[in-house]
Homo-oligomer: 454 residues x 2
């Protein structure tokens, strides 16, 4: 992999020129120009082409170059490119791709086609075992493209081995040391190997304690350990501590980014793989499902208001301040819930901190509720000149904001306790609570004092 060079301008001008050539029908000229780009930039160029321009181009790209491009393509354009290739072409192509990327692709093309492609791969024996792991686990993220040294080798032997093998191995910075049974015995950084006396034995050079991850563990766990110790790769082992593969730091960055996106999307009621590139019909259904849930929850608020229809019939002005009280309650709840969900995701708080967190948020909610409630009361009085109405609005606001922070803490923490994703505690769930309770406080108080308001 050409992983350390590229044009400084991300090849923008080159890509525009290549696009022009392609539109003019000069396939060879475009190919020659694109070939001067970094594979990451070539991938960008391919990704943004219309099918009419891309399809004639693809078969003309040399296999080695296409393999590198595929490694840099994002998921959606990669599927499009891969779909255009027959198993006879795709098999040998995947032999040249990093095993972890090959596995992703084999996962994405369906079981039948995957079998057909695998049958045409020279590296099938290496790649097939990786297929057993789910996408979002350590096993699903690992590559089998690592270097393992024997304990009893010398530094000289290890360097000779490096020269002999794995000329293209991805990001080799740690060298793993295994014993006779293939179990992980230690790790040596390339940096230490290089400066060690040639006759030193690997077993004397290696660090015997190695942080590892089990193949079945979640990718978040991989990311957590790599971040915690500032690693650039993490070895994946089975139950007998046999070395299965390695997850590299570039995948960890992707995991960190994906997990953040997932949390944001879940909180907004979007599925985790929602994207502006997704076909519209595949976006409509999951969003609609979520909105239908929101609609059902919305009727809880409607029911609460309905219970006070008589009061509203007497004082229509109450309806004017309903959205203010429910809205501010929702904003307050979303502030708290966002902070809690993110802090849980980043491992900055644990369940045992719950009491302290609840106290903290209550102090904030009540303080801000007092201020906002007072401002609201003054505004209502200035507008409507009705003392009772302004007192009711202010008190309801205070009560609703105190409720909002409480719900904002309890909902995500309860979800985590029952081992669900706290991010499911989306805005919708919190605002349902704050709507229902906000209307209860406001319209309930107003009903008690209706003779003084009307």
């Amino acid at each position: 992999m050409a992983d350390d060079a590229a044009d400084r301008d991300d090849g923008d001008t080159t890509r525009e020129e290549a696009q022009r050539l392609l539109e003019d029908g000069d396939l060879d000229g475009a190919l020659a120009l694109v070939a001067t780009l970094h594979p990451a930039d070539q991938a960008d160029f391919i990704a943004q082409l219309d099918a009419s321009l891309r399809d004639p181009l693809l078969p003309r790209i040399p296999q080695e170059a296409l393999a590198e491009i595929i490694e840099f393509l994002k998921e959606e354009p990669r599927e499009t490119v891969v779909d255009a290739l027959a198993p006879e072409t795709l098999g040998p192509l995947l032999d040249r791709v990093d095993p972890d990327v090959a596995v992703d692709i084999l996962h994405s093309i369906g079981a039948e086609r995957s079998q057909a492609v695998l049958a045409r791969m020279a590296s099938a024996a290496e790649v097939a075992p990786l297929l057993a792991y789910e996408d979002e686990t350590a096993g699903g993220r690992m590559t089998s493209d690592y270097i393992a040294l024997q304990r009893d080798w010398t530094v000289d032997q290890a360097l000779a081995y490096l020269r002999r093998t794995h000329p293209g191995a991805e990001q080799i910075f740690y060298l793993y040391v295994i014993d006779d049974q293939g179990r992980l015995a230690g790790v040596v950084s390339l940096r230490h190997l290089v400066v060690a006396p040639p006759e030193t034995r690997i077993v004397d050079l290696m660090t015997p304690e190695v942080v590892t991850v089990q193949a079945g563990e979640d990718q978040e766990e991989v990311a957590r350990r790599v971040q915690r110790y500032n690693f650039i790769a993490l070895p994946v082992v089975d139950e007998e501590r046999r070395l299965m593969g390695v997850v590299t730091v570039d995948d960890v960055i992707d995991v960190v980014e994906e997990e953040a996106t997932e949390d944001m999307f879940r909180m907004a009621g979007l599925v985790e793989d929602e994207s502006l590139q997704r076909p519209v019909v595949r976006s409509i259904v999951p969003r609609l499902a979520w909105l239908l849930i929101a609609l059902v929850l919305g009727f809880a608020a409607a029911g609460m208001v309905s219970a006070f229809e008589g009061t509203i019939a007497r004082v229509a002005a109450l309806a004017v301040f309903m959205p203010v009280i429910s809205g501010l309650g929702g904003n307050t709840g979303v502030q708290t819930i966002t902070l809690i969900v993110r802090s849980l995701a980043l491992g900055e708080v644990e369940l045992r901190d719950m009491r302290r967190i609840l106290q903290r948020e209550l102090v904030i909610g009540v303080t801000n509720g007092l201020v906002i409630g007072l401002v609201l009361a003054l505004a209502v009085f200035a507008w409507k000149g009705n003392t009772a109405l302004s007192v009711v609005a202010g008190l309801a606001m205070l009560a609703n904001m105190a409720t909002a922070v409480t719900v904002g803490v309890l909902v995500p923490i309860t979800l985590r306790t029952v081992r669900l994703d706290p991010a499911l505690a989306s805005g919708v769930l919190v605002t349902t609570f704050t709507d229902v309770l906000g209307f209860f406080f406001f319209l309930g108080l107003a009903t008690l004092m209706v003779d003084r308001i009307a």
Copy 2:
């Protein structure tokens, strides 16, 4: 840096045992036990200690160990630890810390104290220039702890240089090649250096085109390039392309995580450095400021309802469905805006894609609006048995959801156009639009048909 070893259980049991010893007053026992942990785990142990236990412990930790612990401490506990140290202690300590961490600390302790500490640092000449860069730039993230080779050296000379110098240099995987003027001429990966014939000249081995970043560029730009090309480090240069430092991938992971947190927090109306560890008073004020804005915006919705107070006085049932219509509009808007903000942040869409995105979201908004509007109309009819009311509610819902997706696209894209952060297009801004317009559609239509509803 001991960057490749640790206990497999993150040292949980060891830390609990050390805590017990410390509480029993056995400082030496606790120290000995903690010393067996990975620095990352030692940092965790220190971070969670009460001041009463931590303060006697700190002066007893050997300086070398304390330096490593500091590198792994997160921002908040690091400030607490650093605040407890006098300049006489802190200066020599920072000499042993990675320069980029030392700079972060010097930034955090105020100008006066920073000068006092710097005066006591042996590496002041190396660290002081880094202080000129702002925290969230490439210069602020870079370390001066890299290895530079001369163009005309041989591989053998380079290896000898490696043996001689920088025994503790952080994550050395790329070696940078500079010319006589200190300008960046190329890059060699350690992997390639090791397997090259000893007499090869560096200039013949190096890749002459190097992706770089300017010292003043934003840290997001660093992250974007590292992610794009799967690098594990990125060289930072000045305008003359002189090598200034290197940003390593562990910092890039932090940037990716911080930027995601920042977007989430901004959308929820939290400041970017909000945290559950933050003193309560420092959380109250910024949250309150945001809620006051929300309150002012809330009065826009109140004003709209107020315009139709007469209609509500005749048909109090209208107030029952107001929260359903404004709520669903808000949910729809938040779905769209979250998707757009995140896609812009990840560079998945550009301003020029705006027309396509708006069309796409409108298709989704209108389709879902038709379904949700129909379901609402049926539910209203089933509940209240009023045909006109159910038609008004259904139509208002459709109009509000179409508005919601439009606003959800236009607001963040407008902010980006005027070079503001699209994440400022928070829920509050979108729900203000959907509240105001939702009430306008619903109550306006109801007013037109009031004789058939009442």
